[in-house]
Structures are given as C-alpha cells and as structure tokens.
C-alpha cells in the first residue's frame, strides 16, 4: 500500500493519498480545494490513476476538492450522504475495492451526523471523529457528544491496538497515532465515562469555524460551487 500524507497549513487539514502499488489505482481522502494542483501533480508523478475521492464528512472549515477532482479525472466522489451531489453514498459495512486494497467504511458519527472513517489494511482514516490525543468538536452540524463517544469507544477502539490512526486534522504537529495509544492517552477518553466526555465536549468554548457559512454550502455542492 502506498500512503502519502499531505497537509494544508491554512486549515490544518490532512489529505491522504492511498494507492495499490500493483494496479496503481488510488484514492484521495479529504482533499482541499486550494491544494488540488499539488495533489494532481503528485498523483501524476507517482503514475497513479485516481478512482475514488472520499470525504469523511461535510466539512465546516475548508472546501473539498472532490467535485473539481472528479470532473478532471473521472474518479467517483464517495461520502456519507451529507452532500447531494456525491456519486457513491456509502454506509457502515460497505467496502470499496481499489486494486488489491479493500477500503472498509465505518460509520463514526458525532462530530457531524454523516461522519465516516475509512479502514485500509492496518490504517484507519478517522476524519474529525478521532484526532491524536483529541477529537472533533460536537457543537454544530448535528454534532452530538454522546454519539461521538459511542463511535470512538465502540467502533474505533474495537480495532486492533496497533491500527495506525490518521486524523483529519492536527493542531500540535502530530501526524499519526495508534488505536492503543489513543485508548491509553487520549485526555478526553482514557478512563473517562460517557458523562465525563459529554461534559468536556460541552465546555470546550471554541469559537465557530471562521468560514462555516461558506464552507458547508460549498461542500454540500461537492466543492463545485463558490465558497
């Protein structure tokens, strides 16, 4: 499995390029519209063919490149149904074949109600459900801390401890973690009850994302509209 992690400094967003090394079929997870040319150049230089563009959810902090990338490459957009324009709406338990790779869809709602994680081999791409020593906020887009608690503790923490965790964002310079590490060291979850987690999440006191009112409608249009 070829795996490249890419970062957008403006929005602290990680994009992942994952490919089957034999067939050269590739997927992009959570591409950022402003980084489309960078990502297309890398795909071309590595001799890959993009087949799916996956969004873990309808983002509030950046605009997806999914639609424009699909238009340019012929790849299909994939998501949980939060955007009406998605080519392939998937749900928990679905799988995508990408050459010899198998992409397993895990429903991990709570940050938003349409949030998915994608498991490929020993790696799981957790979007904004689980971060390194943190997790996505739950105070907009039908976010719900109790639901997120279930997604993390019953779905993600049920994966093997050595599963590599690749988050949708990081704000402290971490690039990855493992399920075992997060079980043990995530300050919002390790040894915390559901009630304690809900209390933490309800008292974060975060400002709203700067561009939420532009980003959400733009993402519901798969990044094809202005936003």
């Amino acid at each position: 499995m070829l795996l490249r992690q890419l970062f957008d400094y403006e929005t602290y967003t990680y994009t992942y390029l994952v490919a089957c090394e034999e067939t050269k079929q590739a997927i992009l997870i959570d591409p950022v519209r402003e980084q489309m040319d960078r990502d297309l150049a890398l795909i071309e230089q590595l001799g890959l063919r993009l087949v799916y563009i996956l969004d873990t959810h309808v983002h509030a902090d950046h605009v997806t490149a999914a639609g424009p990338l699909a238009d340019k490459t012929g790849a299909k957009t994939v998501g949980g149904g939060g955007a009406g324009c998605t080519d392939l709406v998937v749900q928990h338990g679905d799988t995508l074949e990408v050459g010899s790779l198998r992409v397993e869809v895990l429903a991990t709602p709570g940050h938003t109600d349409d949030s998915l994680s994608f498991r490929v081999g020993d790696a799981v791409f957790t979007g904004d459900a689980l971060f390194v020593r943190g997790c996505g906020r739950t105070d907009f887009q039908n976010g719900d801390p109790s639901t997120l608690y279930d997604s993390i503790t019953r779905v993600l923490f049920a994966l093997p401890d050595d599963t590599r965790v690749f988050p949708g964002h990081d704000y402290r310079g971490h690039t990855m973690s493992t399920i075992g590490e997060e079980k043990r060291w995530n300050p919002r979850l390790a040894g915390k009850s559901r009630e304690a987690f809900i209390q933490i999440m309800d008292n974060l006191g975060l400002a709203p994302p700067k561009h939420i009112h532009e980003a959400v409608p733009a993402n519901r249009a798969c990044g094809r509209a202005a936003g």
Copy 2:
C-alpha cells in the same frame, strides 16, 4: 522501527522520533526548542528511552532543543561539529547503534558546511540537503551550491530508489518522498547539470531567515543559550 514525524508550524520544521521497538531506545532528529514538552510527552507515553539527540546541522531558522533535552533526559547530543557543545561529533561513515537499529551518518554538506543526513533502515533523514521536490538554500553559513550538488547526486542519489526521504522542512504540505521520485521529479535536479543547479541556487532571491542572527549563536550553544 517506530517512526513518528512531528511538525513545527512556526518554522515548518520536521522533527523525527525513531525507536527500536524491542529495546525502546530512541533518537530524536532535529527537535525544536519550543516543542520540547510535546516531544518529551510523546516519548514518555510511548514508553521510550531517549539515547541520542541528533541535529542534521546548525540551523538558522529555529533553535534546537538538543541541549535542554540532553540535560533533562541524559541522552547524548550528536552533530557534525558546528556546535562546540555537542557530546558526540560524528562524520561520514560513522554509525550509532540504537537497540537493533543502526544509524548511518552521511556527510551531505552544501546547505551548510556541517550538514549531515542520517540513514536508518529504508529511511533517510536529509535535513536541509534534500527536500521533497526542492533542497535547502546555499547562500549563508558557508553554503555552496556545487558542494550541495555533489552531496545530493553522489551521496543521497546513490541510495536505493525506494529509500524513503524524510526532509528537515517542507513548505507545501508534503511529508515524505523517495530517492527515486526525487531523481525523477525534483525540479532543481532532475536532468539538471551542475552548472544549471548552481544557476538556480544563485538566483533564488530569498530573504534571509528572520531569526538567523539569534538562531545560529543559540544553536552553536546547543539551544542552551537565549536566542
């Protein structure tokens, strides 16, 4: 081999934590002083014991955490001799044993005259000699484009094509590359003669690093002095 890539957003610097999974002995490459607490927490959470702190060179854009980390942990500082306080001055061909890992020292001067790369298994940590689709500048600290051309084309490009390249910085959101990719796609080197490379490097027109006059003396003191 355990490998964690860490990023400092202020200076676009990558720090690498590399460890032997059996003995839990670890090294840190190019730690940033402001990130010391983050890095120490990660080392502790992973149950590692820091044995060496390596600087690829005397940096001009950030201050190393090497000295303070050595004082806190008992690990030895390692470098190419640009800082008089370094515990262990190494040169091309030297090796360090870190549990079952073997760290091979490669002299790759040109960005600075003391620049080293470190090879561990299938990975090479190239500092500011080779970046993803770029390279370090050569216009201060005895930098020399002709020397850097030799370091890249004769030392780094002599490694197997599938060697993973982990750079000291990135400014476009890339995290890694391979030697094969850089041979083929690095715009300053692919198909470029020594003369063409020198011309590119002599005409970059970059502003000096903002904090060079504080960072260089602070790094010559292994990050123990104010800077």
